[in-house]
Amino acid sequence: MMASQERVDAPWQQIRAQLPQFERADIVVGFPSFNNAETVKPVIEAVMAGLRQACPDASVLLVNQDAGSHDGTPELVKGAVEGRMSVALLHRATRTATGMESRLSGAWPSGREEAFHSFLSATKESGATACAVIDPAVRSVTPDWMTWLLSPIMESRAEYVAPVFLRPRYEGSLTNMLVYPLNRALYGSAMRYHAGGGCGMSGRLADLYLAQRFWDERAVRSSMDICLTTVAIAEDRSLCEAGLGEKLIQSPAGGDDVSSVVAQTVGAVFYFMERYQDVWEHRAQAQPVLHTGLPYRPQPDRGPINIDRMMRGFRQGLRDLLPIWEIILSPETLSGILPLALIEKDEFRFPPQLWAQTVYDFALAYHEKVLHREHLLKSLTPLYLGQMASLVLRTQEQKPEDVEVCIEELCDTFARMKPYLVERWRFS
């Protein structure tokens, strides 16, 4: 408790040391930066213009937490503000995060969770009504982002505003085929779980986040967006989605290991399933989420999709990981998956019901700890690739909107099969 309080106080002490006259802010805007010299100036300009447009009379504190840039990003942040607003530059105190933990953040470096913690601490200590976090690596930030992210909070219409981006139909497929349908079935909220870019939250919600235990959980803290969104949903806070348009990143992350992404993302979802068991057991019927900003619609593909690689991954998993899947999956699920190995590529389909059952079996196995958890989560990767290949094969000749139909079908299947999970979870 003591350490936790110190953790909250430390960033605020740094801010007060830099801004001794500063007392109170209405809005805190956080920038977690790392080598963003290329984009930081236009992003700051857009944010400041947006703040003038959305809340002209509000007192604003800009907080930049840098993860050790070599290109002078913090100085550029200060230069871009040019004394027009209060700005504090924070540096990471310790390097505790590993390279693996940074994977999910994409353009963000490791220590993103630390930066978020600092922004929330600043929000709490400055008594701010709202906090927005903007990724300085995103080239497509416009002044409207601030209106869309902050207005629902300032007008007390929502406590948490999550981003929704216009992106190619198969982008974010793990979110679309697992995180979104599963969490929608569990918590009854149609939040899309798009990650990164920007988000907004109320001061009260910031207090709640700071009191959470997940900051010390290595397994989940690298999936900050899932943590923040899931806690807000499970704690029954009012939610809003902000359509922010396209998310164009300064230098898109490359070479990410799919299995690490799967393990971190799904691990975070399963972690909260254990924590919020009492909540999700009783929730039903997905509620729509308030929407602001640009309407969401899937975009055409940016390039060809390598289905063969996905199929190879799935088939190899079926060949080599069978002894592990035998421990994790129920016999009925396994007997549904095995014949898929014999189907030719063009006819290959992973039925939605089988996919939902597979995900639920993995959640149960995670809960029962039948296997080392990282092994369990990583062994889901070939099955995820199979499901993804199935979706692409089914819809590649169709319109981008048809992918949404498939995702909606998945959501319905997950919701319909929820009793399968609840019954087994209770007796595990």
């Binding site: 992350a253 490359g254 070479g255 690689r309 421990i327 039948v370 092994h375």
Partner: protein, 233 residues
């Protein structure tokens, strides 16, 4: 003649009675030790099983891949039960040795002290063996999953290499600990392990240098490849 016969008979009878009188308490002590061994062994077994069950040792062994490995070898009992039984037989053996020692037979003189001297080595070896098997299974499983996810076709072979490499290493350590053919084991292990490492180095150097270069280039320059044409979250 008759007196001599009577004396011989009586002497033999007394001698046998005296010997029996000396031996019977020892036999009784042996039987007592055996009964005590069964009772104390059973208590130790129950205690071990309770403690292991309380700390969810079976689930741990399942997670570490020990149970599936034992199941493949035809052992289907839970790990806690196996360790309980091991505890029983260890205690029973100790009590049996005490009983045999109590018989004061010339052939078994010092047996107890010799075995007790050896017991720490035996226990250390058993512990090493358990750790080696658990670690071998864990790392083998990790290697298998990583290789499958990297779509390396020889994933199972790699996993077997890792698992059996660990088993081999453990076996050598156990035999060294037990003091069995120490020099031969160390020499054999060094030759075998060195040979494997050299073979792998040559194989990678000759056959896999392009793959290694590609991997390094991709890692250093973060070149976009077919793996990252989509974002997953």
């Amino acid at each position: 003649m008759k007196e001599m016969w009577e004396d011989a008979m009586l002497e033999a009878f007394h001698e046998t009675s005296r010997r029996l009188g000396l031996f019977l308490p020892k036999l009784l002590a042996l039987i007592t030790f055996l009964v005590l061994g069964v009772v104390v062994g059973w208590l130790v077994k129950m205690l071990l099983m309770r403690v292991l069950s309380a700390v969810r040792f079976d689930a741990f062994c399942e997670r570490m891949g020990l149970m599936p490995a034992l199941a493949r070898a035809g052992v289907v009992q839970p790990a806690s039960s196996l360790i309980g039984r091991l505890g029983f037989w260890t205690v029973f053996l100790v009590f049996t040795l005490m009983g045999i020692d109590a018989l004061s037979l010339p052939a078994t003189a010092n047996l107890m002290s010799v075995l007790l001297e050896f017991l720490p080595n035996l226990l250390a070896s058993a512990f090493l063996l358990l750790c080696g098997i658990l670690l071998g299974n864990f790392l083998g499983e990790a290697a298998l999953i990583t290789a499958v996810n990297a779509q390396i076709q020889e994933a199972r072979l790699i996993a077997h290499f890792v698992r059996w490499g660990l088993y081999l290493f453990t076996g050598a350590m156990v035999l060294t600990q037990l003091g069995i053919a120490k020099e031969i084991v160390v020499a054999a292990f060094c030759i075998m392990f060195g040979g494997i490492v050299l073979a792998l180095a040559i194989a990678v150097g000759l056959g896999g240098r392009n793959i290694a270069r590609d991997k390094l280039e991709r890692r250093l320059h973060r070149r976009r490849t077919e793996e990252d044409e989509l974002t997953h979250i």
